[in-house]
């Protein structure tokens, strides 16, 4: 009873005296995220949006992206030259940069990092893209030459994305090891690691000596709030300033739009969504069947019903805002009558039965329901196979030859459609990432030649040709290009989110 009395006493006394915030005038931005960042080391980073976002704010690459145009701008490198064969990139580096641990940045730091990334012994999922580098040569303290084995059309982009090519403090990596460094990262970026409380928050503070000038935000706190309903209440209450695109749920948009202190913003991404099809299994090995599936899908209905209006009807694999998107591809019409004709031609006048693997989480189950209804209208009976995401991926790794269809899609990583086309449709990428097991020697040949063409407009022509073939062969049924959603308090004035949907807080300001 005494305990109860104490509890009542204490709790009643605190009802009205909400804790006084200490008088600090710090400009703190609180970001609500659903997944906890594990660490700040690109070489050890697993596939996680949260890790990518913290890394993007603590590290620099040699270049950075112009927030408005997406073009590469100088960052740790002041200028660069590309050799006439397109294989060697020579970067001149800044001389005034220090890592967060106080050591100086120079050409050998670039070499040490790139050599680690390209050897590929580490598990970092994004740095694997740097395996295209064949040699890194220190020319002098502030000049470095990076050579690739074959021409890489998107090389400058790789050099501008910290989750791929972050420059880490070599002495800190040496001292702490990969795992230790992940827990106490040290880069050159606008924000420095402060602390990470497991299950609660990841905190970085402004790097006051940042070479492009001090950030306007003093501290960023990523608060881990796994439940979307809780996250929304925190934003409405003002205890969270920003819900990033990985945590924002489309279902909340309508309700939040009406609040005067909250901004709802939709931004384009590089995420392309489609039905993945096992191209070598009957009946899907018949191109007429694959085309029929495409005609049977009502893409407008998917966007309106399943995505609540957020998304763009797609016409191919490369998103509209990515370099290489073919503007004149035939529109993918909804035409169930034509779909039935094609199925009859293919020898399936009464349709057939098939499985569609669906992963949980918005919007997949809703999209699957629309697809199931659409296909039923043309006689194709779909059994939905709900599988937890990791289970689904593992299932397809193991059952690559026997699965029917998977509702997924791919995100581009760099601003050049070549990488996306190559990953998805190059025959040597079977069984993964080309898990549709699509083979077309003409596509292989065009992809091989496109990578060698340095002239952008010439390359574009080849990309267009590839996309025409893909539309004809229909190895996947394109559905829509996903867009990102951001919910934030109106006290924040600038938020730069790139098409990978990572937020760069260096450009942000917040009024207190």
């Amino acid at each position: 009873m005494a305990l109860l009395a104490v509890a009542i006493l204490v709790s009643s006394s605190i009802y009205l005296t909400s804790p006084q915030r200490s008088a600090e005038k710090e400009n703190v931005l609180v970001v609500g995220i659903s997944v906890e960042p594990q660490g700040g080391n690109v070489a050890a980073a697993v596939e996680s949006s949260a890790d990518s976002e913290v890394i993007s704010n603590m590290f620099d690459s040699l270049l950075r992206k112009d927030p408005s145009s997406g073009e590469p701008l100088p960052a740790l490198a002041t200028s660069w030259e590309i050799s006439s064969d397109g294989l060697t990139y020579t970067f001149r580096l800044r001389k005034d940069v220090k890592f967060h641990d106080g050591t100086s940045f120079n050409a050998s730091a670039v070499k040490v990092n790139f050599d680690t990334y390209r050897e590929g012994k580490n598990i970092g999922t994004r740095v694997r893209l740097l395996r295209v580098i064949s040699e890194v040569k220190v020319i002098d303290d502030y000049t470095v030459a990076v050579r690739t084995g074959t021409p890489v059309p998107y090389m400058l982009d790789l050099m501008a994305i910290p989750t791929i090519s972050a420059i880490r403090s070599p002495s800190a990596v040496l001292k702490l090891g990969d795992e230790g460094f992940a827990k106490k990262p040290s880069g050159t970026g606008p924000f420095k690691f402060d602390h990470h409380t497991g299950g609660t928050e990841y905190v970085v503070v402004a790097n006051t000596e940042y070479f492009l000038g001090r950030p306007k935000i003093d501290k960023i706190v990523w608060r881990v709030i796994p439940d979307p309903a809780t996250l929304r209440l925190e934003l409405e209450k003002g205890t969270v300033d920003y819900i990033d695109p990985f945590a924002a749920v489309p279902g909340d948009a309508d309700a939040l739009k009406g609040k005067k202190d909250i901004v709802v913003k939709e931004i384009p991404s590089w995420k392309s969504r489609f039905i993945e099809i096992n191209n070598r299994k009957a009946p899907f090995n018949n191109v007429l069947v694959r085309r029929a599936l495409s005609f049977a899908i009502d893409r407008d209905a998917i966007i309106k019903i399943a995505l609540r209006g957020f998304g763009v009807v797609s016409d191919g694999a490369i998103p509209v805002n990515m370099f290489g998107h073919a503007p004149n591809l035939p529109k993918l019409n909804y035409d169930p009558v034509r779909a039935k004709e094609l199925l009859a031609q293919a020898g399936y006048p009464n349709g057939f039965e098939a499985n569609l693997i669906v992963t949980p989480g918005a919007p997949w189950p809703d999209v699957a329901t629309v697809i199931q209804a659409n296909l039923r209208d043309v006689g194709v009976k779909i059994t939905l196979q709900p599988m937890e995401t990791v289970a689904a991926y593992s299932f397809i790794y193991q059952n690559n030859t026997t699965y029917d269809m998977l509702l997924q899609g791919r995100g581009g990583i760099v601003d050049d459609g070549w990488l996306l086309l190559w990953e998805l449709f190059y025959s040597q990428n079977i069984p993964n990432p080309n898990r549709f097991r699509y083979v077309n020697p003409e596509v292989d040949r065009l992809l091989d030649s496109a990578r060698k063409v340095t002239d952008r407009s010439e390359r574009l022509k080849l990309y267009y040709q590839i996309q025409e073939i893909i539309t004809r062969d229909m190895p996947v049924v394109p559905l829509y290009y996903a867009t990102g959603l951001m919910y934030y308090r109106s006290t924040i004035t600038t938020l730069y989110v790139d098409p990978n949907l990572y937020t760069y807080f260096y450009y942000s300001t917040k009024t207190t």
Partner: protein, 336 residues
């Protein structure tokens, strides 16, 4: 048999339990669909990358060998290393256990207080409007899902009235100096009233959410138990002696009625630990339940195994304590 001997024997009996739990969970995580290597590398990895990771994690070894490696580690107090964070599982568990225990114990205390109070009232005022009202709330309390009740409390008391924070364990600026990891204890030990205030404000909603079900069940049990005791002859004798009803009720009836209630305290703690997965997700609480839930999503085998083993040890300990307490309340019970 003395108490010490009894405890030793109970602990020995629990060894097979732990072994069984460790085998079952070891097998379950491995037959569960989904591969840790795939979870780490995402769906774009090549088959070779996946193979390399599997080898690095020693997942390519035969299962019995993996189990023996694991078991020999456990016997030396090493629960393994998280596949994702590369942190020792035991370190992570110990850093999150206080958070879970704080809610679970507070919830069990709240449940016991409310349960005993409302159950007694209900039994004494049998068939009055109070009893009927109590029946309604018992039904509601035992049928409301955690996540729904939690959300409703958040909307009303945090978002609308603003009395409590929506989620989290403490305000960042009030983090107490680390001593036990139990923020209430730590802030009391350091005399940090700001911390205590912030801790309690954060604790109340999750604890009430967690307590609702157990309180309802306890209330029902207390009511039945008291009604049974009240018709016993010694109660009639006490009344015949002319003792005031208050003394009859609280000194003679309630004390005996409480014996069966003590046993369910262990069940309440078990229920709280099981429910911690939902409660901690709704309230962004950095405890063990959420830690395990996230580990399942990532197929972090050592973490899942470690948490389950740790939970079973906790439960065996709590039940042992309950049985010992039982003996103190009822001297007739012998340790056999």
């Amino acid at each position: 048999m003395g108490l010490r001997e009894y405890i030793v024997r109970r602990l020995l009996y629990s060894v097979p339990t732990f072994l069984l739990v460790s085998v079952i969970i070891f097998v379950i995580v491995r037959v569960m669909p989904g591969d840790p290597a795939v979870a780490m590398l995402g769906d774009l990895a090549t088959a070779e990358d996946i193979k390399n990771i599997r080898r690095a994690l020693r997942l390519d070894e035969p299962l019995p060998l993996q189990y023996l490696t694991y078991l020999s580690g456990v016997l030396q107090g090493d629960l393994g290393t998280s596949v994702w964070t590369r942190t020792p599982v035991l370190t992570e568990i110990l850093s999150r256990f206080p958070a879970t225990i704080e809610v679970t114990v507070l919830a069990a205390v709240i449940a016991a207080i409310i349960g005993i109070f409302s159950g007694t009232l209900s039994a004494v005022k049998r068939n009055s409007w109070l009893d009927h009202a109590n029946r309604v709330w018992v039904l509601a309390g035992s049928s409301m899902p955690f996540f729904w009740l939690g959300l409703m409390l958040q909307i009303l008391f945090a978002a609308q009235l603003g009395w409590f924070p929506v989620s989290g364990r403490i305000d960042r600026e009030f983090l107490p100096q680390y001593i036990t990891g139990l923020y209430i204890i730590d802030s009391l030990l350091t005399g940090n009233l700001g911390s205590l205030n912030s801790t309690i404000r954060h604790l109340i909603l999750p604890a009430i959410t967690s307590a609702a079900f157990a309180a309802a069940i306890a209330s029902r049990m207390v009511r039945i138990s008291i009604l049974e005791v009240l018709v016993q002859q010694y109660i009639t004798a006490a009344r015949a002696k002319g003792l005031p009803e208050r003394i009859v009720l609280y000194k003679h009836a309630l004390r005996n009625a409480l014996i069966p209630i003590v046993t369910i305290f262990g069940i309440m703690v078990a229920w709280g630990l099981g429910g911690s997965i939902l409660i901690e997700t709704v309230f962004s609480w950095p405890g063990m339940g959420r830690y395990m839930f996230e580990a399942i999503g990532k197929r972090d085998f050592p973490v899942i195994q470690g948490v389950v083993l740790f939970y079973s040890i906790t439960l065996v300990t709590v039940n042992l304590l309950v049985d010992i307490a039982y003996g103190y309340i009822n001297p007739q019970i012998r340790y056999e």
